[in-house]
């Protein structure tokens, strides 16, 4: 049994699932637009939350937040459910599939067999869509892969109930109602405003622009505070979170820039194109930060590739993003 669902590859799992599910129901919204409408842009350096015993850095909003906000802003009705019992979770999934409903699931990445070995580690914030079943094999649209994948019931169950930080607990969600007439401009505006508010005004030192600056202050202290070996682990974790895991900093900065580019047309506000360009430049600085970190990790740092430089670049990123969000609030 296979639902007529169009798999499209995307840069990030949640925004990709969001875009693909809306597309299934007749709303052709790009991944970038879903990311923007869902206020996906964020930053948090959360040393009190550990992934693989290393601090969590998130470059995007809370898990599920993009999908929740997009669907709310577009007037969709969504069913969300978590489970204690894995068999009930799989039965609920099967029931929806039999009714022709593609179902999004939150999973750990480690237990998905189609993940390449280099990317299989314990990370529990992955999203995918299940849209078919043939015997004990489920047909999966995993947005970060180029084509549909399949996964046995056994592996999907393990992935849905992966243990560890941010355990998915069988979480699944699907559309109950999707309106055909939606106010995309209003949703885009709301998306932008919330990003600006969060990045500029969230209290506390570890969130938003303040969080980027806080991290900048921390990074240059790491070699002395943690020792060289552990400092490199911290750097490696930062880079993975930024570039690989879909919490990605530079990737999301580029995605937000792409959203602003689309929003310029949607909102008939050409100045957003300039802001988009600025955000792309910020994304390039984030990427340079990650490249230098990578060189340190790999022992191929040259003159200028050091923690002090990384700290300086982070401050530049903070400055650049601050200017972007202030400008967006002025425009809108």
């Amino acid at each position: 049994m296979k639902i007529d669902f169009t798999h499209r590859q995307s840069a990030h799992c949640e925004s990709g699932v969001c875009s693909n599910l809306l597309h299934h129901y007749g709303l052709d919204i790009s991944e970038a637009m879903a990311f923007g409408m869902g206020s996906g842009m964020f930053f948090g350096y959360l040393p009190f939350i550990r992934i693989n015993s290393l601090p969590l850095t998130t470059y995007r909003c809370e898990m599920g937040g993009i999908f929740k906000r997009v669907t709310k802003r577009l007037g969709c009705q969504v069913h969300w459910q978590k489970f204690r019992n894995p068999d009930k979770a799989m039965a609920a999934l099967d029931e929806q599939l039999e009714q022709g409903t593609p179902v999004a699931c939150r999973t750990g990445g480690y237990w998905l067999p189609y993940f390449p070995p280099a990317f299989r580690f314990h990370f529990n914030m992955h999203n995918l869509v299940v849209y078919g079943r043939e015997g004990d094999e489920y047909i999966i649209s995993d947005p970060v892969f180029p084509g549909p994948e399949s996964c046995s019931r056994r592996d999907l169950l393990k992935a849905r109930f992966a243990l560890g930080a941010m355990a998915p607990k069988g979480a699944m969600y699907y559309m109950k109602k999707v309106p055909q007439q939606v106010d995309m401009a209003a949703a885009a505006r709301a998306g932008i405003r919330e990003v600006c508010r969060r990045m500029l005004n969230t209290p506390g030192p570890v969130i938003g622009i303040r969080g980027i600056r806080f991290l900048a202050g921390q990074v240059k202290k790491w070699p002395k505070k943690l020792g060289e070996k552990r400092a490199l682990l911290y750097v490696g974790q930062l880079i993975r979170m930024q570039e690989e895991l879909g919490t990605g900093g530079a990737g999301f900065r580029f995605m937000f820039a792409a959203f602003l580019q689309e929003a310029a047309s949607l909102l008939e506000t050409p100045h957003l194109l300039d802001v988009s360009k600025t955000m792309t430049d910020v994304g390039d600085r984030w990427r340079k930060f990650a490249v230098i970190g990578g060189r340190l990790c790999k022992g191929r740092a040259s003159a200028g590739d050091n923690y002090e430089t990384m700290s300086t670049i982070l401050q530049e990123c903070a400055d650049g993003e601050f200017a972007v969000y202030r400008e967006l609030l002025k425009i809108l």
């Binding site: 070995p117 570039e243 990737g251 490249v291």
Partner: protein, 84 residues
């Protein structure tokens, strides 16, 4: 110098592949998961070097992964971008 030769130089020089010369890297051999021993952090450096050397933006790492199967696939990606 061909794109393939330039890419191999980048691999050896920028990624410090001390055990290889550019001539020893096969155009079709796997860049990742093979004898070169490259990982995701190396992929980041390659993306950066491709952007700097060929002026081709690669903003999405997913896009990079698809092109990074081998020297030849990466060269084909670069050529396609340069043409467009």
């Amino acid at each position: 110098m061909t794109i393939q030769q330039r890419l191999k130089e980048i691999l050896v020089v920028e990624l410090n592949l001390e055990d290889f010369t550019p001539e020893q890297i096969d155009d079709d051999e796997a860049l990742f998961g093979g004898r070169l021993g490259l990982d995701s952090i190396d992929a980041l450096e390659i993306v950066y070097q491709v952007e700097q050397t060929f002026r081709i933006p690669m903003k999405e790492m997913n896009e990079a992964r698809a092109a990074f199967q081998s020297i030849n696939t990466l060269a084909a990606f670069i050529e396609a971008r340069l043409r467009s």
